[in-house]
Symmetry: C2
Subunit: 596 residues, 2 copies
């Protein structure tokens, strides 16, 4: 059975040594969590993930969710108890507003918690994860009454949330959606239609489920402009803060999937269900994007988190499994064979994973800190810069971290040889579970298009220019430092590749948008590589500067080696990405559709 | 439900137009199959794969194999009937020696048949596939009596075969194996031990199962030198060519796996089972390699075959699914949205797959023709050159085609969005099934080590130098041809990258073998890219020269465009591969084992 240990030391290194967490002490919530409290919180989160959630991961996968004929869904054994523990310990409301019963702690701590939960049990983590999205949408767009009605219950975990976008004929293209909302006399709406792929859509963990549903008000214009957002609870809110009548939404089926079996992916049928408009009519998509950005960051975290837990197990196996002898000469002559970690090609897989996981964690922590700044800073310029950062890097984190996450789960499985393919070892589950993260919350190709089509040109390229400036300023500041050269020289080269690709779009995509579309995926990965490279350069600098910080020397040495590995082995891929981008769309689009 | 159409036209293009099949007419077996007969055979093979095997693929996956308490294993519904049809039609013995009841047809036709079967139903195809390996080992190393006893039954499909290498504590490092063989008075041996991961190890398809088993004769030296190969049939051969007593080998369990559920992966327990030595004592590993090379080529074909069927379905979906509008302007104004094939990023995935599938098919056909030459040519120099080719390219085909195969199945799944993750659409099965091909018959890292550690230096580098010469001669011959420049210029550059990497090994790996190990995987992929690039250049040339060959103009145009796409978008990856190889082993090996 696989094991998991939450990387608390690594999170603390990022917070304390790399990103100077204490400098954010002026933001609301941060003063409640000085470094010693942060450490205690992370250690408790680790314990919960390791001891409560991880033991339910493999059993949850094999048991799955079960739907009764009446539409009720039972989660796997142990899930309800774990959920109750999670809610009671306050983890669900960790970052929620204290006005609504939350703990108001920094989002960066929420991101670390998300990582640990997702490594331990991704399918479980989706239940509270969806609640966070619902919370964010109502907080940003709901009326005061809606906030009072829903936010305290979502923060406490007493109620949970979902996002309802997809219909059988429409996923990415939400303009096609048919679910309709008919005004009722009391200001509410009767919602009718069918939604599919609704994660955590029905289950037995919470007292009520708060569905946020995109629908078209009868008579509204076609296309995405006519879409509004509604809150449609499974049970209507009761007078006393409890639940009232059952609403007209039922689970028609749960999907049989490749993975995340312990999360119920539902077909939800709305039959004149009572819902209330959230935000302005026909502004539903904008409101839903609040949930989606939150969700996209969380999905990026899932990719990294699956890679992390798969890596940890592969490393243990590679140290234990005896097979063959080292190319450089026998290492353990007293044993029948050497452990496979002596073989360079096994190291290659482990180092690839380690370099990705730690770089990705840094990127997540950096970005989650920006989320805190964006939401909590009193300085408008700071907030705008932080929002630019998040707008630019959210699609990159979602797309790139989930692509690598899947790939590294497969490589961790590969370390196990044939045992990796067998269910009982648990490695193949990580691969199956990680796969969904590339697909949902906007398939990765959509993230790439969002990045290139929307985020790059927005505000005259302000966000991407700020990103370039930050990276190139760092390269310039440390370019003469001998110890930093192995990091900043490759980073500088990669940043130039990114600038070159950006210029190419500027020169070639205006007249021919297909050139942007054709290069978008490689561009997303190119930016991801530069961002990860920048994170490694920052971590190397922090490791070099760490004398007296109390860091273990082995930890410091490993950072410096792993960062160098990233620069030597991973970052050179930028050259190939640029070549593909510059190939443009002509050949890609040349064939008629029936030639495929 | 997914569909499948065998690419007969593409196979014929390769045989007739690219590799001039008719020039091999002097080899035994080829005269029985002139081009019109080849076409008829391939069309019949296609029909069998499409109509008999493909409809059992999804049901076989969901039903799986079932083991009774007595150790008997039932294959999924319909498998026995399909197997009987396959045997009766003569497909199992297609390439087998007519002296043993086979049809004696060229191996290249066997490779095409394998592809179609594997695309249609990979788990099914493994049953006859393993028989081919057993046939090849007995044909090459067995006594006349063994050949008479086993080969006719293996060729007819009345009996099937297996390979028994792995034990719980030993996979790659067969020197550790413990299964023992004790000589009996009659010249046979009593085999005792436990083997795991035995594909097709027990089932209800054939009257008897012929296990080829690696074991150590009691008292033989430890390590790989002490290993011998035995034939251990499930039922002892009877006097009349039928079966006699049940032998002491039983299926102790079948594994629950990620995929290929319809193939029984068995734990086989040998309890003083009667076996006979195949070949010389203590030369078992060499004899087993005969089976393994055969099997490795077949596994490479599986990778390509899964990518092909996944691609075909993704292409259909991309033409049908309406979602969004083309970046270049609305394409189908009469519909609610354009089909997603108009989006460059969907094209990217389809073109990547198409460029891989067709290039890989060419590499397989080219190499299978070399197998025919190696086994059937009267000219020793020709035979040696063909054997060099096969020795060099077998690990490349196994490793590279299965890596891309898995990746492209995942990309084909991605085209389906959320539907790709749901079982009923069948796309996720391709991903799960394709995954094993990277692991079994020697994990891909082992293929890379075989290539770099054994195949490159063998005979003073004769094989790799011949490969370079063939590629660079082609580049030189067509470098001045304007129409060929888009193909040969990138190919020439890629070949120089491969030469550069080869030189780097020569200069850096002698003194430090870890440098070879550290770069082996990238080298394998680098050689795979050059080999695929060479295939595309050959196909482009054949397409350009095809006037009057009766080829459809759309087919010719698609070849030229797809080849160009490969050169522009896939081949540039060689630069990254070289950079990684030249990074060497120092950083990769720097961390102590406990730093992971």
């Amino acid at each position: 059975m696989p094991a998991y240990k939450a990387p608390v030391d690594d999170t603390l290194f990022l917070l304390n040594d790399v990103f100077a967490y204490e400098r954010y002490g002026n933001l609301p919530g941060f003063s409640d969590a000085p470094p010693d409290v942060v450490k205690a919180i992370l250690e408790e989160a680790a314990k919960f993930a390791e001891e409560v959630l991880q033991p339910l991961n493999q059993t949850g996968d094999s048991e799955g969710c079960n739907r009764n004929d009446d539409g009720a869904v039972a989660t796997p054994t142990g899930f309800k108890d774990a959920y109750t523990q999670m809610a009671e310990a306050g983890w669900i409301g960790l970052t929620a507003d204290p006005d609504y019963g939350g703990q108001g702690l920094p989002h960066v701590l929420g991101a670390a918690l998300n990582e640990y939960i997702s490594s331990a049990n991704m399918a479980f983590g989706m239940y509270p994860g969806l609640s966070h999205g619902a919370y964010a949408a109502i907080e940003a767009h709901g009326s005061d009454e809606q906030k009072q009605t829903y936010l305290p219950h979502l923060a406490s975990g007493k109620w949970s949330g979902t996002m309802n976008l997809t219909e059988p004929h429409c996923g990415t293209d939400l303009g096609l959606l048919r679910t309709k909302a008919v005004p009722r006399d009391d200001g509410s709406y009767a919602i009718t239609g069918s939604k599919i792929f609704i994660s955590a859509g029905e289950h037995d963990l919470s007292e009520n489920i708060v569905h946020l549903v995109l629908a078209r008000i009868e008579g509204a214009e076609p296309g995405i402009k006519g879409i509004s957002l509604f809150v449609v609870p499974k049970f209507l809110p009761g007078e006393d803060g409890g639940v009232g009548d059952r609403n007209g939404v039922t689970c028609g089926a749960i999907e049989e999937k490749m993975g995340i079996h312990a999360n119920a992916t539902c077909v939800l049928n709305y039959d004149e269900a009572i819902g209330w408009l959230v935000g302005a009519p026909q502004k539903g998509l904008r409101a839903m994007f609040t949930m989606m950005n939150e969700a996209r960051l969380a999905v990026g975290i899932q990719g990294m988190a699956q890679s992390e837990v798969a890596y940890q197990n592969a490393a243990v196996y590679a140290r234990d499994r005896l097979q063959g002898r080292a190319l450089s000469g026998t290492q353990q002559p007293d044993k029948a064979a050497d452990p496979i970690i002596v073989h360079p090609d096994v190291r290659r897989m482990l180092m690839d994973q380690k370099a990705f996981n730690e770089g990705a964690r840094a990127l997540v922590v950096w970005t989650a800190l920006q989320a805190d700044v964006a939401r909590r800073s009193a300085d408008e310029a700071e907030r705008q810069a932080a929002e630019d950062h998040m707008g630019l890097l959210t699609p990159v984190i979602k797309g790139v971290l989930t692509d690598y996450g899947f790939q590294h789960c497969a490589n961790a499985q590969q370390v196990y040889g044939g045992h990796g393919y067998v269910r009982e070892w648990g490695m193949e589950q990580f691969v199956r579970d990680a796969r969904i993260a590339q697909i949902y919350e906007g398939a990765n190709g959509i993230q790439a298009l969002d990045l290139v089509g929307r985020k790059l040109p927005r505000d005259g390229g302000r966000a991407v220019m700020a990103f370039f400036k930050e990276v190139t300023d760092f390269v310039a500041a440390h370019g003469e430092d001998e110890a930093m050269k192995p990091y900043v020289e490759p980073l500088g080269k990669a940043a130039r590749d990114l600038e070159r690709a950006t210029m190419w779009f500027m020169a070639n995509a205006m007249a021919k948008p297909d050139n942007a579309g054709a290069g978008s995926y490689d561009y997303m990965h190119l930016m991801g590589l530069v961002a990860l490279g920048y994170m490694w350069a920052r971590m190397a600098k922090a490791a070099q500067d760490s004398q007296g910080n109390g860091l273990d020397q082995g930890f410091v040495d490993a950072k410096l080696v792993t960062g160098r590995y990233f620069m030597e082995r991973v970052l050179p891929e930028t050259a190939t990405r640029v070549a593909r981008i510059e190939a443009g769309a002509d050949t890609m689009m040349a064939l008629p559709a029936d030639a495929f």
